[in-house]
Structures are given as structure tokens and as C-alpha cells.
């Protein structure tokens, strides 16, 4: 099952990148996709629950618009801080506790923290995050925990 799925994904990706439809090239694409799928299907999908994976992926797509908006806000904030003559920054390091069940959740939260206003992830594990924040207000917005709640929703927690 994971072999077939990996093969289909690889071949679709090959088609996107090449854009060729001559039979000989298609045959080469099929052969290379089969080889890649044979070698890496246990790494790419493995024993993961495919149904749950798809549900999480759909939830992730719903999360992305909010994240993009946060990225825009982050950059406007950054432009303000950079071009302000006095640079009103107040850098602090802080740690906070989390509880995630999957590495995927940790990855999404760490990436989101780096991309959203005024915070960069320094250390990320399943139970603890170390975050560097550039001003007090941004640190407080992180402590309010809206982002954590959203990421846990992707993971499938009952919040």
C-alpha cells in the first residue's frame, strides 16, 4: 500500500517537473519512480496511518491562511523595528512547557513560531520550547497560547 502511494506521488511529481509526454520519456519516468518508491517507501510513509495522515493534512491546509497572515504581520513588525531610529527592541529568552504527541506537531509549532511576529524558536522538543523574543508584547502574545491550540487541533487533541 505504501509502495503504491509513494510510486503515484513520485510519478505525479516527475510529471510536474518534466512536463513531457513522449512515450520513451514517460517510460523512463515510470522506471525511476518505481526505483525511488522501492527504495524509500518505508521511509516516506512506512507504518503511518494513512487515513489519519490525510485528515491531518486537510487540517493543515485550513491552518495555512492564518499562518500566511501572521507572516505578513511579522514582516511589517520587523520593518517597523528595523527602520525605527531608536530600535524599540527588548530581546528576551524564555522557556515554556508543551505536551505534544507527534514530532509533526513540534515541527509545525516550531516553524510557525519562527515565522510569526517577533519570535524565533531556539530549542524544540515534545515537552519544552526555548524561544527568543524581540519585545515584550510579542512574548505575551505567545504565552496566550492561541497558536499552540491551533497546532494541537491539527494534531487531533481534544482541547
Amino acid at each position: 500500500m505504501s509502495f503504491i502511494l509513494t510510486f503515484l506521488l513520485m510519478f505525479a511529481f516527475w510529471m510536474l517537473l518534466s512536463g513531457q509526454t513522449q512515450p520513451i520519456l514517460l517510460l523512463l519516468g515510470v522506471i525511476s519512480s518505481l526505483l525511488v518508491a522501492y527504495w524509500s517507501h518505508d521511509l516516506f510513509i512506512g507504518k503511518a496511518d494513512i487515513g489519519q495522515g490525510i485528515v491531518r493534512f486537510l487540517r493543515l491546509i485550513r491552518y495555512i491562511p492564518w499562518l500566511l497572515w501572521q507572516i505578513v504581520l511579522a514582516n511589517l513588525h520587523l520593518v517597523y523595528l528595523t527602520l525605527h531610529p531608536k530600535m524599540p527592541i527588548e530581546p528576551t529568552m524564555m522557556t515554556f512547557k508543551t505536551n505534544f504527541n507527534t514530532d509533526m506537531g513540534v515541527f509545525i509549532l516550531a516553524t510557525s513560531i519562527t515565522l510569526t511576529p517577533g519570535t524565533v524558536t531556539v530549542e524544540a522538543t515534545r515537552d519544552e520550547f526555548v524561544v527568543h523574543s524581540i519585545s515584550k508584547t510579542t512574548a505575551e502574545s505567545l504565552v496566550s497560547g492561541e497558536m499552540q491550540a491551533r497546532v494541537k487541533e491539527i494534531e487531533g487533541h481534544r482541547v
Binding site: 507572516i71 520587523l78 516553524t111 524558536t121 527568543h132 496566550s144
Partner: protein, 126 residues
């Protein structure tokens, strides 16, 4: 000058603006961790806008799809990369210039440890 060219120009200009500001930020900010902020964020939005402008210019073709794939890869790779640089510095013991705070997310209390106030000495004197 049709509408497509104008949209392309505006997006391209905005993207370049964010990247230039990020570069200025890297130079202006005081310490290593503060410099991670413009390096990690400014480039991400800047490249996304530049690639978006190229996608608009190209119209709906296979090249647009490839540009989109590049954009998604950079959107994932850029924060991951800056996180690992920051983590490397943290593990190696690079000290931020200001206080280290312990924040307990469950009680929402922000407690600044008194010892680390020493780091602020230089800044508050100026």
C-alpha cells in the same frame, strides 16, 4: 502596460523592499539572537513575494507550478534553517544580551530571574 505587468512590478518591488529591510536589520540589531529575526523572517516573505510576482507574470503554465513548488520548499526550509542556526548557538553557549525569562504557559506568569538582570547593565546606562 497592462494590469499583469503592474501587479508583477508591485509584488516584485514589495519583495525586494522586505529583503533590503531584512539586510539592514541584520546589520543594525545588537546581538546574535536578535539578528536571527530579520534573517529568518524577512527573507521568507521577500522570496515568497518575488516568486509570486514571477508566477503572475508567467500566467498559468507548468513553470508557474514549478515556481510554486520552489516557494513552498523555501517557506519550509528557511525557518527550519534559522531554527537550527539559533539552536547551534544556544547549545554552544552564545549569551543573549538581555535577561533570560522563565515563562510558565499554564499560569501565564512572566517571572524574570534576578541574576540575569546584570546583562542589562550596559544598555540601561546608555
Amino acid at each position: 502596460m497592462d494590469v499583469k505587468t503592474i501587479i508583477t512590478a508591485v509584488l516584485l518591488f514589495t519583495g525586494c523592499f522586505f529583503i533590503v529591510v531584512a539586510a539592514i536589520g541584520v546589520v543594525r540589531f545588537p546581538d546574535f539572537f536578535a539578528r536571527m529575526h530579520p534573517a529568518g523572517k524577512g527573507d521568507t516573505l521577500g522570496q515568497a513575494l518575488i516568486l509570486l510576482s514571477l508566477m503572475v507574470y508567467e500566467g498559468f503554465t507548468l513553470i508557474t507550478v514549478k515556481l510554486f513548488i520552489i516557494m513552498v520548499f523555501i517557506l519550509v526550509a528557511n525557518p527550519t534553517g534559522s531554527h537550527f542556526i539559533a539552536k547551534g548557538a544556544y547549545v554552544a553557549g552564545v549569551k543573549p544580551t538581555k535577561a533570560h525569562e522563565e515563562v510558565d504557559i499554564s499560569s501565564s506568569e512572566v517571572a524574570v530571574s534576578s541574576t540575569s538582570k546584570k546583562h542589562c547593565g550596559v544598555d540601561s546606562a546608555s
